[in-house]
Symmetry: C2
Subunit: 320 residues, 2 copies
């Protein structure tokens, strides 16, 4: 089943978002425009706009207002991907050439800056200071998450808490805020705003853990990048952290590790895959999804609630 | 005469700004904190906060409110310097090691992002949507200016219009906005807001042209970096553009140019210095300052007006 099928009733509003995304990036400067469009056209799941719109339905839904939030959050996510590409020397993202690979690091950095600035500009259409406060705090957390990811790279001694804090900042908060801001801007009851935020947080954690699992279990075709890329770049995720808890495996992984040796890396990936780390990570992800389920159950029944529940379920089962 | 002497009556408020700047950068993450503090401690002229405060005095001046704007603008300026250093491989900035040189490009990029995000966060203390709109548009222009600077590098055929548009985006708008936002936030009359904005714009243009002159005429000790750095990095500024208009000089400069050959670069710098380009640039700078003077003359007499006039005068005469 395709993700899009889960919320057909907002598809026409999502088309509006898609158009607004393109329009926002129409910069005068041709290089910038090309770089930005390139990235937007590569497409994503638009999971953040979907959450904004669905959450907005729990209040006074006004597409002309709420679209600004949906577009701004997708832009912030996009900008962070662009800056992430600068960092990781990632040659592939979503199966296409990264902005960095197609142009260079300097253009990639400023493309990210430009997209950030446009997101902030767009948000100024929302005359609710609370929304701005929530968003700017999110941006600060997002950046700290990125810095932590650099700091934690190749650190075989990091613990699970470090990992969870990192993915919270890197991924979960932005998804939580997508739900939360949708509800805030549409002036849903405070209690509902909080529930949707917590729902988004738990779904976001599960989303990132699933991503980290797929990086080991997916094929290059499914992922649009080679399997095991995270570990190769020194990004130690949950399945690997689980494997590292075993003394023997730990010794084997740390001494064999050589990011430039494909054969050795394939061997390490197989070690992680057979360590029980995948099953363990799936269990943790399921726990977050269950929590998300429990939170949203308390909300009044409606098709938006069903859609949110189905998306949460989908995230636990997706293959790429 | 020292710049600080021109506005002693706001010095205690400037101390508040300085303290707030430090507090804002207190991040949990030690690397980030060190990188940011490093940059703030290197110190600058704090010309943007000065303009914010002085302009604010033309309305209902409230330091607790306006300090947010002053700090945010200085942070945005700082963040753009950090990202600028990533670009230019500049090893020296303000006489000290750049964030990039001391850490690396990745940390420098995220330090810039972090400072940007903190600036936006700080502005959310201001409950005036107009202020946010002005600031976010400024950030967009600033980034476009940076991209243009990359695009225009080593382009010997660029015309004066390209140069003026570039320094407008890169420098003048942020100074214009410092004056404009000071007036907006303190709710000065609309007419005064506009005059202060235009004053800032003209001072900003003169400020950047003077910078570009000093890059040729200053000593390494005065500049905190080698003279002629701009040209060496392919950044063609007004004095050089003037020299390039002379067919013979143009041929000589373009064929001799070799950024890795110190002797050749010294020769080119001497060609620019004797081309009349310095005098021409000074004349243009004077013209902007005169315009700034004319605009501010219309404002009611007060010590803030005198201070603004003196700062404008100082900028035309500064040596570094």
């Amino acid at each position: 089943m395709k993700l899009k099928r889960l919320y057909t009733f907002i598809n026409s509003d999502l088309d509006i978002i898609e158009k607004a995304l393109e329009e926002t990036i129409q910069a005068e400067h041709p290089v910038l425009k090309e770089a930005s469009m390139h990235l937007l056209q590569a497409g994503g799941k638009r999971i953040r706009p979907v959450f904004v719109l669905l959450s907005g339905k729990f209040g006074n839904y006004n597409i002309d207002e709420i679209k600004n939030v949906a577009v701004a959050l997708e832009l912030i996510h996009t900008a962070s991907l662009v800056h992430d590409d600068v960092i990781d020397n990632a040659e592939l993202r979503r199966g296409g050439l990264t902005v960095k690979a197609k142009w260079d690091n300097r253009i990639a950095m400023y493309t990210g800056d430009y997209i950030f600035a446009r997101a902030v500009e767009l948000m100024t259409n929302i005359n609710k200071i609370e929304a701005h406060q929530v968003l700017s705090k999110t941006m600060v957390e997002l950046v700290i998450g990125e810095i932590e990811q650099i700091k934690d790279k190749y650190d075989w001694d990091q613990n699970l808490r470090t990992y969870f804090r990192r993915i919270k900042r890197k991924t979960a908060i932005l998804i939580a805020v997508s739900c939360g801001l949708g509800a805030i801007v549409s002036e849903a009851p405070i209690q509902v705003q909080r529930q949707l935020y917590r729902f988004g947080y738990n779904v976001g954690m599960a989303f990132q853990i699933t991503d980290d699992i797929l990086d080991f279990t997916g094929t290059e075709k499914e992922l649009g990048k080679p399997a095991g890329s995270d570990l190769q770049q020194g990004n130690i995720t949950l399945p690997a952290l689980y494997a590292l808890r075993n003394e023997n495996l730990r010794k084997e992984i740390v001494t064999t590790f050589d990011p430039n040796n494909e054969e050795k890396m394939r061997y390490i990936i197989s070690l992680v895959k057979t360590s029980g780390g995948i099953e363990y990570s799936k269990e943790i992800s399921e726990r977050y999804l269950k929590k998300a389920h429990g939170i949203i159950k308390e909300l009044p029944n409606c098709k938006e609630k069903t859609a949110l529940l189905n998306i949460a379920k989908y995230i636990g089962k997706r293959k790429f």
